[in-house]
């Protein structure tokens, strides 16, 4: 009959209207600044730099190899390598970035820098509340703003961070073994030299 469908429709909307007051399912909105949705582990936005240990400046894993700078498609990374080496968190003398800037107004979050980094030192962050009233200076993130501790990285991407740490540990062990072998070889030759 004419008008039947309208009445059915009105019933549906009325059900939704009153249902929204009693049922959580009918009102799935999360009231954002007060309540937040838990972000998925793979959520990514802009990169950050990982550091080990307590001091962000000393512990930066970055050795300023500039691969990420060269690979970055929109060219949003700017690195200035140090002229002299400095011991990093592992105690090895390394170059370090004097300047490491990422222009977040240019960055497209493609994660290519993360994939090419051989030192597991640049990772993707999930911070998204970066809006600012200064559209020039404040969108350019400097080294200090980019630095995050490896604990933060663990908390952000637990699986991935463990993997990276394992890789780093293997690397470290290899380095130590090599150093030991070198030392042993050095002392061996010294010993050899000694009697001669």
């Amino acid at each position: 009959m004419l008008g039947e469908a309208i009445i059915k429709g009105l019933a549906v909307t009325a059900k939704n209207f009153f249902g929204s007051y009693v049922s959580k399912e009918r009102l799935p909105t999360i009231q954002y600044p007060e309540a937040r949705q838990a972000l998925a582990e793979r959520v990514r936005n802009f990169p950050f730099l990982v550091y080990d240990g307590g001091d962000w400046e000393k512990g930066l894993r970055c050795v300023a190899c500039q691969i990420c700078e060269k690979e970055c498609p929109p060219k949003c990374i700017y690195i200035k390598r140090s002229s002299a080496k400095k011991p990093n968190a592992m105690g090895r003398a390394q170059f370090y970035p004097v300047v490491f800037d990422i222009d977040t107004s240019v960055c497209m979050g493609c994660q290519i820098c993360v994939e090419v980094c051989p030192f597991d030192s640049i990772k993707m962050n999930n911070e998204f509340e970066l809006c600012n009233s200064d559209r020039f200076g404040a969108l350019l993130l400097h080294k200090q703003q980019l630095a995050r501790s490896s604990e933060y990285y663990h908390q952000l991407h637990p699986g991935e961070a463990a993997e990276a740490d394992a890789r780093l540990a293997v690397e470290k062990a290899r380095m130590e073994a090599r150093a030991k072998a070198k030392m042993a070889a050095g002392s061996g030759s010294a010993q050899k030299k000694g009697p001669a």
Partner: protein
């Protein structure tokens, strides 16, 4: 006590007017009444916009506006600060007039829209002894003044020099004139029964109760049909969904008020809501017992509160319908008006006459005959309209 509360505003006005010299009193009285009407319906308008947005939100499973509250505090007032923010925004926005527009007509159109619609409130009995202008031909005045808004729609559309505005205005004119006919025809039934065009007399005719049932016109077969016809036509008159073709956001951007910004746009918006209030108030007056309480034991609540409640109930129904029914097409709209609503309204006049002349007959016979007269044409016309429709797969002719 109840009577004091009921007559609170009337005595307040008398008290205010008494302060002035006798020669001034008629003028002051008018000013006070006009001020009261504008304040009350203006604030109802601002509240209704929030209710509309929240209601539609809830229907669509989301919160509506619930943020704006008192500035510089964390108090959100459930979003009821929104109209203040909206008003400020409308005031601050640039008032843009297109270069090619007819400046004078473009400027006058919003005023020409709001003025007649505001005048419609003059004859509405907003409570006992609370009619601003108790005309003997109140209903006639109401429709006569309300028809002025159609001119404003066309003024706005034509003067904007914009094809969408013009299309919206054309649609608006076609729709408003078409639906004016059933609107008035369904009101005629009430006039026939009451024997007066005075809205106060129409309300008084609905006083009293048989048992728990009030003597409202809606509780008679002709009144029920008339009420539905009136509400449908009134929704179309006030350009409300599903009859919002003159605005038609998805097709013609905003229709006749497309080229309006800032407060002129707000005035059009206000006029639309005022039109809804006026239509709701008239529907309450004609069919829902005006300012009378729906049950004898509720009579202690002031009459003006009942009038406002009934008007707002109509607004809620409109919001509900807006959240439910999609917009009609122009030809569907016209077919619906001329092939369905107008014939039914004409038949309803006959039903009213039958109801009137069968008053000596026993009630069941009277009810049966009139109910048949209402339901029969509805079903037959509905069937007939659908039967003649050939619903087939639509073929699209694209421009080459």
């Amino acid at each position: 006590m109840a009577d004091t509360l009921d007559q609170l505003f009337v005595s307040l006005k008398h008290w205010l007017v008494a302060w002035f010299p006798p020669a001034w009193q008629p003028l002051i009285s008018v000013v006070v009444i006009v001020g009261a009407i504008l304040t009350v319906f203006g604030s109802l308008f601002s509240v209704a916009t929030v209710f509309e947005r929240k209601g539609l939100g809830r229907i669509q499973n989301r919160y509506g506006p619930n943020r704006v509250g008192i500035p510089f505090t964390k108090i959100s007032l459930f979003g009821f600060g929104q109209p203040i923010a909206d008003g400020l925004k409308a005031l601050i926005k640039e008032d843009f007039v297109p270069h090619a527009a007819d400046q004078v007509v473009h400027f006058l159109a919003p005023i020409a829209m709001l003025a007649p619609i505001t005048l419609m409130f003059a004859v509405l009995p907003c409570g006992r002894n609370m009619t601003a202008l108790d005309l003997d031909a109140g209903l006639l005045y109401f429709f006569a003044v309300g028809a002025g808004a159609e001119l404003a729609v066309f003024m706005a559309g034509w003067s904007s020099r914009n094809k969408y505005s013009l299309l919206g205005a054309m649609r608006g004119i076609a729709q408003m004139i078409s639906y004016e006919v059933p609107l008035i025809l369904s009101a005629v039934a009430v006039v026939m029964m009451v024997g007066s065009l005075s809205l106060v007399k129409i309300v008084e005719a609905q006083a009293g109760y048989s048992g728990w049932l009030p003597h409202w016109h809606v509780f008679t077969p002709w009144g029920f049909a008339g009420c539905l016809l009136f509400l449908t036509a009134a929704a179309a008159e006030s350009n409300r969904s599903p009859f919002d073709l003159p605005e038609g956001e998805s097709e013609i951007v905003a229709g006749y008020f497309l080229e309006y910004s800032g407060f002129k746009f707000a005035i059009f918006f206000m006029a639309e809501y005022f039109g809804m209030f006026a239509a709701g108030g008239l529907a309450a007056t004609l069919f829902f017992g005006g300012y009378y309480a729906p049950a004898p034991w509720l009579a202690w609540i002031p009459t003006w509160a009942w009038f406002i409640a009934k008007t707002m109930a109509w607004i809620f129904v409109l919001i509900w319908i807006r959240g439910t029914v999609p917009r009609l097409r122009q030809d569907q709209l016209m077919n619906f008006a001329w092939k369905f609503i107008v014939p039914l309204a004409l038949i309803n006049i006959v039903t009213t006459a039958v109801w009137h002349f069968m008053r000596a007959q026993p009630a069941p016979a009277r009810w049966a005959v009139c109910a048949l007269l209402v339901a029969g044409p509805y079903v037959l016309l509905g069937r007939g309209l659908l039967a003649n429709k050939k619903i087939e797969k639509r073929t699209y002719r694209l421009a080459d």
